[in-house]
């Protein structure tokens, strides 16, 4: 058995006799009795063996533009086969996809789609990459892992969109099979992660550092929620950490919040707030800052940090113009980091 089997083991000597299993996938370390599930709703103790109920059964399968993930420095304009299963190990009160992320597998419809067929489907749909997205791909770890193997063997790329709440060992194994990762960095605040997401900050910071080390490409998305993480100091803290730990060339997507799920009492993020956040991130040294989920002039465009020329113009997740030449600015020759081909 490969390293994935090591994710489940008796937590200690006293529990070994009772068949209780501790899931070692994420920092929650759920202790799961036989027949019961972990906090993510997906991982179950079957007679002392940990299994993922949703393996091979995505509840969402769709071909999206890569800009919707969003990845702005990976294969611009490419269609991406995107999939997810039910469940999540975070419980964000603002979740946009709560109808699949905060549900048991029994509560959502799903298709039977084994990993080998994922790669074949991507090829049939002329998708150069597969994205594990919508919910939390690290929760359906074994499925993501096996899909990655097949997709890579088929000569396609693997992309993951994640909150980054996973233990280091399984994360390292999976990262080595990914070509690009987008991490949702909720806030530079332990209390935000605790109160809004039901999680903790430190593992997420580590997940982003590991992604920078092990994955060819990393982008960060930061959802700006009015009153919760929209002060100047909040923006500066996020941008400063990204610049210092992930590098100034790491794209930062500042995303507009819309009232959802258990956070319907807050208003959508004003465009002016996002523009202020972008100015602060730029002042902190980041070179590629995008504004999403809102119409802001040039907010989705990739701009040369050296000469200021617009290189890729986007509108509503579509590429309107791409002037990049072999990953460089055609005007001044500045190399723009990313996976362009």
């Amino acid at each position: 058995m490969n390293e994935r089997a090591a994710l489940a083991r008796p937590p200690d000597a006293t529990m070994a006799a009772t068949d209780i299993v501790r899931c070692e996938l994420c920092p929650r370390a759920c202790r799961i009795a036989p027949g019961r599930r972990g906090d993510c709703r997906v991982r179950v103790n079957l007679d002392g063996r940990l299994a993922a109920l949703t393996y091979g059964h995505p509840c969402a399968v769709h071909v999206d533009p890569i800009e919707k993930k969003p990845f702005y420095h990976v294969l611009p304009g490419a269609p991406v086969l995107s999939l997810a299963t039910a469940g999540c190990n975070l419980h964000c009160r603002n979740c946009q996809n709560w109808e699949i992320s905060q549900r048991d597998p029994e509560e959502v419809d799903a298709a039977a789609l084994p990993p080998a067929e994922v790669a074949a489907l991507a090829r049939r749909e002329s998708c150069p990459a597969v994205a594990y997205t919508y919910t939390e791909p690290l929760v359906f770890y074994e499925y993501t892992f096996d899909c990655c193997e097949h997709v890579r063997a088929a000569g396609l790329r693997n992309l993951a969109v994640t909150a980054g709440y996973l233990n280091e060992a399984p994360l390292r194994d999976l990262y080595r099979r990914l070509d690009a990762v987008k991490v949702d960095f909720k806030a530079m605040s332990e209390s935000f992660y605790r109160d809004v997401c039901g999680a903790t900050l430190r593992p997420v910071l580590r997940a982003m550092e590991l992604a920078r080390e092990l994955v060819p490409w990393l982008e960060i998305c930061h959802l700006v929620i009015p009153t919760l993480n929209d002060r100047d100091g909040d923006f500066a803290a996020v941008a400063r950490w990204v610049a210092a730990h992930l590098g100034r060339d790491t794209p930062l997507h500042l995303s507009r919040f819309f009232p959802q799920y258990r956070m319907r009492h807050l208003p959508p993020t004003p465009a002016t707030t996002l523009e202020r956040a972008r100015a602060i991130a730029r002042a902190e040294g980041l070179r590629h800052i995008y504004v999403g989920n809102v119409a802001v002039e040039g907010g989705e465009d990739t701009v040369c940090p050296a000469c200021g020329a617009a290189l890729i113009r986007r509108s509503l997740y579509r590429v309107a113009e791409n002037r990049l030449r072999s990953g460089a600015c055609p005007d001044c020759g500045e190399r723009i980091p990313g996976l362009w081909e």
Binding site: V44, L46, A51, A60, K68, Q96, D104, D109, A111, T133
Partner: protein, 63 residues
């Protein structure tokens, strides 16, 4: 202070109703738990639909 008959019957009915609800809750938990114990790694516990149907309905999800 004693109860009159109507009060007693009402209280008894409520107790019975409470008991029935409690039993129902236990049964519901057991019923929900049963497929978990029965499911194998290759057997999905939920509703399996044709891939085309899932794809058609998946355009609404963010990310």
């Amino acid at each position: 202070m004693g109860m009159n008959r109507r009060e007693f019957v009402g209280a008894a009915s409520l107790a019975a109703l409470g008991g029935a609800l409690a039993v129902g809750a236990v049964r519901a938990r057991r019923a929900r738990a049963a497929p978990r114990a029965a499911v194998g790694a290759a057997r999905y516990p939920g509703r399996v639909r044709p891939l085309a149907e899932i794809r058609r309905r998946s355009g609404v999800w963010a990310g």
